[in-house]
């Protein structure tokens, strides 16, 4: 969101070189608000503002700018400005920015960096997107077990300005192995000369670098953590995931699930509606739409095959789109509920029978209700319809109603079953996209429809 309101005032300050006033402006609000306000300026002007902000604040405001603008700025700065900026940034934000740069930009930036930052970026950006390692930060507070609470507070006080959170500190042994955690609250509450070993929590919740980011985040959520430590293969502490990054992951995963449910492709990482070009949107959506259109032709061929039946019973054409729609709707509903319950870890693979049983019961109720309504509807319009000899309106009505009920039950079970199957195969349940499901139950629905009618009417 850009905010053009104070652009003229900011431009005036830049032109008049009122550096003290600019520095003051940067201090007045939350860095995220300042970033929003200056985003309406050109990238050159943005730097005129930022370079007047004090150093740690400058990097904080910078981190809240849009990614494109960050990339633009980074490549135009001189070596010294760049080194300062990147040194002040939070390690995870810095690694994210770096990962999103083109190869040339990365090569232009790397030599300007200090050795420590270069190593840190290399390490953090090595983890695959979607893993716990890719969202962790290396900025955590670490304590040995032997010191006292008073010494620990003193140490945190000295380190505080550079750490993302000092509200939790992690206790490690000489090999950096995670052996406990202690909150600042515990430190403040305990006797000053108690040792960390005495007051630390020894059962620490943690995640491994290659674990799914979603599992890590669910732990933060379930256990109300401010941060979750991340360990490597040797159980050594390598980073933490903070609650604010967890919230970003939750939103990203939710967007991803929703888009997959609607058969929208693309990476879903850092995807922002208004930032994605029309061409990008087209590419994300075209694949599935084309595949499903081709699948839709199968429905067409089924309709064509039963043209003779449709000609004999013109009433069948009237109820055909409704049958297809209803199958898609009931199937999508149950797929959505199951996908969501799986995502929130409310149900798991072993619940497959319980879920199918519940969906079966719901489907029977829905099928009965819709069947009765449809039977009534056929009888109501019945008078005007021509039927072949030997077939009454009641017979054709019950045939249509039965077909609809069967379609509802089938579609609901397919809708609930496919995400469970996907989860069982360790695939993402949301890939069983609602549009794909709609197309599949269209096909099963038409087959059910025509064969039920044939069977009951006896042709």
């Amino acid at each position: 969101m850009k905010n053009p309101i104070i652009v003229p005032e900011l431009r005036e300050l830049i032109l008049a070189n009122k550096n003290a006033e600019i520095a003051n402006f940067c201090r007045t609000g939350h860095p995220a608000i300042v970033a929003e306000l200056i985003s309406a300026l050109s990238s050159k002007e943005v730097w005129q503002i930022l370079k007047n902000a004090e150093r740690p604040l400058r990097a904080e405001i910078f981190s809240h700018l849009d990614v494109d603008l960050q990339e633009d700025l980074v490549t135009t700065l001189n070596r010294e400005e760049l080194v300062h900026l990147l040194a002040d940034m939070a390690p995870d934000d810095r690694a994210d920015l770096f990962k999103r740069m083109t190869d040339e930009k990365q090569e232009a930036v790397l030599p300007a960096l200090a050795h420590a930052e270069r190593e840190d970026i290399r390490r953090l950006s090595a983890y695959e997107e979607g893993t716990a390692g890719s969202v962790m930060t290396s900025d955590y507070a670490m304590l040995p077990a032997q010191i006292t609470a008073a010494q620990a507070i003193d140490r945190l006080r000295r380190e505080a300005p550079n750490k993302e959170t000092i509200y939790y500190a992690y206790v490690v042994d000489e090999n950096r192995k995670l052996i406990g955690s202690v909150s600042l609250k515990d430190l403040i509450l305990s006797r000053p000369n108690a040792t960390i070993d005495e007051i630390m929590q020894k059962e620490v919740l943690f995640t491994r670098i290659h674990d799914d980011q979603e599992d890590a985040v669910r732990k933060i959520q379930k256990y109300d953590l401010i941060a979750l430590p991340v360990v490597n293969e040797k159980d050594s502490l390598v980073g933490i995931i903070t609650y604010d990054d967890a919230i970003d992951v939750i939103n990203q995963e939710n967007t991803e699930d929703m888009e997959k449910l609607m058969a929208i492709g693309g990476s879903h990482e850092h995807a922002v509606y208004s930032k994605t070009s029309s061409w990008g949107h087209f590419k994300n959506r075209a694949g599935w739409v084309v595949v499903l259109a081709m699948l839709g032709l199968i429905s067409g061929l089924i309709v064509q095959k039963f043209e003779g039946l449709l000609l004999q019973f013109t009433i069948l054409a009237t109820f055909m789109p409704m049958l297809a729609d209803t199958g898609g709707n009931t199937g999508s509903q149950s797929a959505t509920l199951v996908v969501r319950a799986l995502a929130l870890k409310e149900i798991s693979n072993k619940d497959v029978l319980a879920v199918l049983l519940k969906e079966f019961k719901v489907a029977i109720l829905l099928g009965l209700l819709l069947g009765m309504i449809t039977f009534g509807r056929v009888l109501l319009t019945g008078g005007e319809i021509l039927l072949p000899e030997g077939c009454t309106i009641a017979i054709i009505g019950s045939a249509i109603a039965l077909a609809l009920s069967l379609q509802v039950v089938t579609a609901t079970l397919i809708g609930a079953g496919l995400p469970m199957v996907a989860s069982f195969l360790k695939l993402d349940p949301a890939v069983v996209a609602s549009p794909a499901l709609t197309t599949i139950v269209d096909i099963t629905g038409l087959l059910i429809y025509f064969y039920t009618i044939k069977l009951i009417v006896g042709i």
Copy 2:
């Protein structure tokens, strides 16, 4: 999720009255894990375990139990047990529990409560669901501006065990008006004799009790807050919303949006898939399914009206389901993207023209692609089809392709436009459910199809 693994061991401990061992078991893991482990027991057995846990821990484990089990337990406790338990619970969890009880249960519990808790419950449960007031807690740390940092730390140390978070304290004047905030980190870093007035942040982000909980939560997310203060009409501090409750709200709102997109009704508050009965699921889903089935009959009537055309050009029946499906898919995709972007506040009402323009461009690209593929497909199967005199396979092919392109453009614009209209009317954009949209573009699609064919073929 229930975990039956250690049920036999727990039962043995209860039968043998090994109270010390039970107390020890309660201490061993995170309260959420203990709650999960004991949930497989009967409610009577759960209390046999809980009553042996130390008091504050007992309430913590209790808060992590499922709501139904909590309600069961509360009504079976004696007066003293109940008073202790409710006094130890976090105010927001306590108010939530109370709100979900039946009137009789509420009346049974109220007299047993201490005055302070009774008043607190009354106040917290007075706010409407969905407002900031309904998710806040009254357990925050408050400081006057005149004391020193050292005095403040001392005060927080004394209050700590009873506060949800002491990492942020809120500074109020004599009328409880919110005038600043100070983090524990700031307090530790500053000179011990600096006054709060000197070190506090004077620009405090806050929300009002009647504001939408979603707006409050977006602030916590955007500004990476641990807690957001809530003020009443007189700007007096009345509570805080903590980051962990914000995460719960985010998940709840996301589930709600997804379910609405799939036309699933119900309150969406505290709804859990496996906790909802089949009958409950049926009631939530049946309404829309029936309405949409009735709307689907309109499509059927259109098909019936153009039966003559379908008989002349049998190829039209083959492509008809594909046209309907494709309209539904492209419309749902654009609706999902717009609903999500609105929910994340990425776009707002004033962006309506920009959004429609972008969707129009995407739709033109999708329409062209699908049109070309369809034209090729018609030509390929063309040889076997009987056509009336004067009409070539190229003419009917271009007519079908053009109709499909028009359908894609119309469906995409309707899909993007309806959520924007809903948002403009201050309705929830997600009410423009995907199934409803699918049914609408089915109808528009069939009309476009038949009229385009008639126009081009010239009948």
